[in-house]
Symmetry: C2
Subunit: 481 residues, 2 copies
């Protein structure tokens, strides 16, 4: 038995031995995804999709609470439409898939599969907006997009992925800028409180911004291997698109004006972040709010009279309280095997109940985050579990924040910066002069990039850690996914 359980854990490579392999082992062995026959396209299996559904439902509620509505725009974009905004098309052209044939006929114009939907949505907004009374339009869509990338990894970078894209237009610059920051903050709050994943919110550099944006803002998270993950972006598009796609309105002052625009999105990539922030050598570790199963009941000595009945009774009681609970009553597997599987799948709480527990009127609860084992009364079990899940959710954010802070290294000189990037795993905080040359050289030399200029600025020194010229911003630097 012990041997079998050991084998189970050995299926997963240790995180610190080979992190990329650990990641691949986890996503495949826990049945989150599988590779498909199409280059760079993954299949999201039910366990992975259930996490996405929970993410969707939490985000969708937040979008609606902030006044947004969902809509659906076409998958296909005529080439002439995509070509209109020069910067935008230049940014996306290398990754666009082109449809050229329908049935047995050649199409008269190539159709792009949407890599993002600014262009097609702008073409509609231009029809829908006449007066300031029509503004703002606060629309979002849940959709698939395709970017035909060469190197892909499940969730992190796939040719097709699922996402939401918000597209809003406003009468004034101020309102659009406010929306951009508001939605970034929705993402930040969501990542912290739902995914238990601390993020650093800030503005991207000119060099790293979205093709066609005036300003791009991002939230960045730090993974266990010390690399950063861009977890979400919010763009202030200014009037770039509205001028090109002719989104004009008659303002209160009887003047024709171009609308001000934003777009913002998060993707299935968030699931990759979740895995790499929380997972450990036992496998996944899911925050209760996005765990498809929050509690797994494992009956001990199932064959003894009364055990299964009691387990089912507990199941009913816990389920009734709105907790996502399951029961593992497979009699072909030992409890030890089930414990391991439960840990591998990242289920926040395991509940063990056997003959002795029943005698004592207790059950054993084991936390996935700390492996702490507690014996609690059966009475009010749903309440006890609710409190425990709440505590796990909070503790996971605390632990992840601690890990992030412990792996954030300030560097005030060029030497310190290079040393940190060469020898430490994590973020480097440094001052930057704001010029693109320094940024490009940093990338060329180290492979690291400026992740963003965080809203919460610190003054580390007066000069740029790269070139020694006067500093403008504190930035986070890291290698990134």
């Amino acid at each position: 038995m012990a041997k079998k359980n050991e084998e189970f854990v050995q299926q997963i490579t240790s995180r610190d031995v080979d992190f990329p392999q650990w990641y691949t082992d986890v996503v495949l062995k826990t049945n989150l995804v599988d590779y498909s026959l199409v280059r760079g396209c993954m299949v999201i299996k039910p366990y992975g999709y259930a996490i996405w559904e929970l993410i969707q439902s939490e985000l969708d509620r937040r979008f609606k609470e902030t006044g947004h509505q969902n809509a659906y725009f076409p998958l296909l974009i005529p080439e002439s439409l995509l070509q209109k905004e020069a910067e935008h098309v230049e940014g996306f052209a290398p990754e666009v898939l082109w449809v050229t044939e329908g049935g047995t006929e050649k199409l008269t114009e190539r159709l792009a599969i949407r890599p993002t939907s600014e262009t097609i949505i702008c073409s509609m907004y231009s029809k829908w907006v006449q007066s300031y009374r029509d503004l703002p339009l606060l629309y979002n869509q849940w959709a698939n997009v395709v970017r035909w990338e060469k190197t892909t990894r499940p969730f992190l970078r796939t040719a097709e992925f699922l996402w939401q894209e918000g597209h809003t237009i406003h009468a004034t610059r101020e309102e659009a800028e406010e929306e951009t920051i508001k939605m970034l903050n929705v993402y930040r709050e969501f990542c912290e409180n739902v995914l238990a994943m601390p993020v650093t919110a800030g503005r991207k550099t000119e060099n790293e911004k979205f093709a066609g944006a005036v300003d791009t803002y991002s939230i960045e998270a730090l993974m266990h291997d010390g690399k950063a993950l861009q977890a979400g972006t919010s763009h202030f598009l200014g009037q770039h698109f509205s001028k090109v796609y002719d989104i004009k309105f008659l303002d209160k002052d009887s003047q024709q004006k171009y609308a001000w625009q934003t777009s913002w999105g998060v993707t299935t990539r968030l699931i990759g972040g979740l895995i790499m922030v929380h997972g450990d050598d036992r496998g996944l570790k899911l925050p209760p709010m996005v765990a498809p199963k929050q509690v797994m009941i494992i009956p001990i000595a199932m064959f003894k009279p009364g055990v299964l009945d009691k387990a089912n009774e507990l199941f009913d009681e816990i389920k009734k309280a709105g907790i996502r609970v399951d029961i593992d009553d497979d009699d072909s597997q030992s409890p030890g095997y089930k414990f391991n599987e439960c840990e591998m799948k990242g289920i926040p709480v395991r509940l063990e109940v056997g003959p002795r527990d029943i005698e004592n009127g207790t059950v054993v609860l084991v936390r996935r985050d700390t492996f702490e084992k507690i014996t609690v009364p059966m009475e009010n079990i749903a309440d006890t579990i609710k409190k425990l899940l709440d505590d796990i959710q909070k503790n996971m954010l605390v632990e992840a924040t601690k890990a992030r802070d412990e792996h954030t290294y300030p560097a005030t000189t060029h030497e310190e910066l290079m040393d940190a990037l060469a020898n430490k795993k994590g973020y480097v905080k440094a001052m930057w002069c704001g010029c693109t040359e320094c940024e490009k050289e940093l990338k060329a030399q180290t492979g690291a990039t400026i992740r963003n200029m965080p809203f919460e600025q610190e003054h580390l020194s007066d000069v740029c850690a790269l070139c020694g010229k006067p500093a403008k911003h504190m930035v986070y630097i890291a290698r990134a996914y």
Copy 2:
């Protein structure tokens, strides 16, 4: 004022004058959809998408309650994979869009945009299934698909549409057949109880079945203009695909066997059905269960002190009870205009509250389905409305069933059949010998098709109404969307 209200209604063509135009007017004027720049692709606007979200949530719950899980499979299908099942590819090839270029490079193999996902899903099932213990797999996906059709109409037939597709595999034929019928019944129950749309469930003829299926079952609904709409299908696929895509399992008896398969789907087309079954010359008429707004509060003499406060108070109370309520406090429009708009948008209940109502402690409720106007106490208003919504939901099904039954004409002879098809609007019930020649001739002569062989068979006569040979089935015949 009266003139303005009249104009409002005149925006919509009368149903009985020009039904197709009435349909177009309704979908555009009520902001359900708009045309896009891409041939045959519609934009689903927020009001239309909100209906789809309600449909999704009701269906998804039913799928999960019957043991199904959601997953997500790739949008793109390699040509070689699609080609494997001959009948299937023949059925879909004329409507497939082909991706041939990625960025600036030609792809080594063409990729089809999924017209349906049997082939890509089978390629995964073949990897995932080894033993009878792995069965059944009961998966569903919510996705977009593309069929490059020539003639399109919003919701009813669009090049891209949204749908769900269930794909299940089983160890035995019996189990797969049971699943096929079970899911058809889920659709039937859903259409009746949620969409208030009566449907006729039955088996399709050989000629009309899905490309690659052994048996196709459908639910058919009768529209106001007497044409039928196929509202959902459920296919028993036998072992056709599992043999071609090699989905084998080791059974309990240690024999290698091919799995038995089903697939089933409904689409955004259901919204088209909803419109054409219930709508009238005033516009949409939505059943409360899928109405994005169930109640619209319209304050009367809004400028008088206390009116708006009371309206907002009622709003809070009704909202708290879980009813989807809105308030129209736009002071640039008259109540009369708002009444009309509310009717056009199909909102089930309109609530009027003015100074006299406040004095009397009452409000006025107006039903969209019957235009009945009742004065009720303000006290317990949420309960009163809940009961009313429930009654409207039920009444709409009763009325739609009555309309369907009144437009169903039995025909026992060839003459009666031809007469009914020429002069009546609706279903013709007739006996059929079961041969494809009769069916094809019927279509060639009249444009009508056999919709299905309903489960609820009646014996109308001994002989086929088309050829006079011995009859095998009673069928529903109609022209169809």
